[in-house]
Symmetry: C2
DNA sequence: CAGAGTATTCAAAGTTCTCTGAAACTTACA
DNA sequence: TGTAAGTTTCAGAGAACTTTGAATACTCTG
């Protein structure tokens, strides 16, 4: 199997995993195509051809991905077509967006605790644990992600110096 | 609105959020019922009545939840019915299970990097970043969760002494 | 070991979601 | 401003997933 075939295989495989995790199939395939593509950017037509899906499906996938920051439009002078790419830092951004959910979980738990007459009732015990856990994660995760960003940026610069 | 109604409302609301995030509706509702219930445990019949769903749906939901550690069967002497409860430490366990996914992401990125002729190609750059990010998270998340467990266990013990 | 009370399985029905293909819309250039 | 290239929208077909309800299997208890 050539390296190109291997890349395509890995892309389709990862798309499958993401689809099982709730992402739309076409959306997942567009995302992994961009991620594993040898090209810097891909056009909608490229994606249609590579994935054998309609332009409508590509349009929908692009919309969703752009909203969650997993795809960016690249200005392409001299081309009428939109060019898309998988943005640098997307993974970190994706995980940061999870904070939204953590925050919701934490709030719901607090409200529940208030309605449950404190942490000594069964419901109160469960909700207190839930609230504590999500508050903890909400406190700890953002600095962790920030630390990765710093580390990785430093590493990348070393690579660039070395050329 | 009474506190009981508020609890039920919060439960249904959270179930809706989880369902939007890909969890099956019946499964999410069973989970949040157990989480917000004033009782220590609930039976299948309790769940059927509270949620107005069939026993088949409850059975399916119980199966799924038990597999992911979000529900546990409680031995109930003197009752023929199974009793279910939301287990202590479930949230931490749930997050730990995400490590499986982190691990997969990290591996796929490595394999992709190998097929992409190193980090100086466009695909290589993207996959190197992805691999680095997930390897980092895989290294940092488990100790973080362990730390929460320790902290929370200590806190709970303080509550018990005082209680 | 018989029988009542529960839990689980499974086919069928219902529901929701996704993709396609065509039409409408937008944009860039002559 | 007209035209051609490209993108987005949307209704409808089809696929995939959920739930139900009845039949089956299980498990205590007398």
């Amino acid at each position: 199997m050539s390296d190109n075939e291997r890349l395509r295989d890995l892309a389709e495989n990862l798309a499958l995993i993401l689809a099982q995790g709730g992402m739309q199939k076409a959306t997942a395939r567009v995302m992994t195509s961009l991620l594993f593509s040898r090209q810097e950017t891909m056009t909608a037509a490229d994606l249609c051809e590579e994935l054998q899906i309609s332009s409508g499906a590509v349009s929908g996938a692009v919309k969703q991905l752009a909203q969650s920051g997993l795809l960016e439009r690249v200005p392409a002078p001299g081309s009428r077509r939109d060019h898309y790419r998988f943005p640098d830092g997307a993974w970190a951004r994706l995980m940061s967006q999870q904070n939204q959910l953590l925050s919701t979980m934490s709030e719901v738990a607090e409200q529940g605790l208030a309605a449950a007459d404190g942490p000594s009732t069964p419901a109160g015990r469960r909700l207190a644990e839930m609230g504590d856990f999500y508050a903890f994660m909400l406190r700890e995760l953002p600095p962790l992600i920030a630390r990765w960003r710093t580390d990785f940026t430093a590493k990348r610069e070393v690579r660039v110096w070395r050329g």
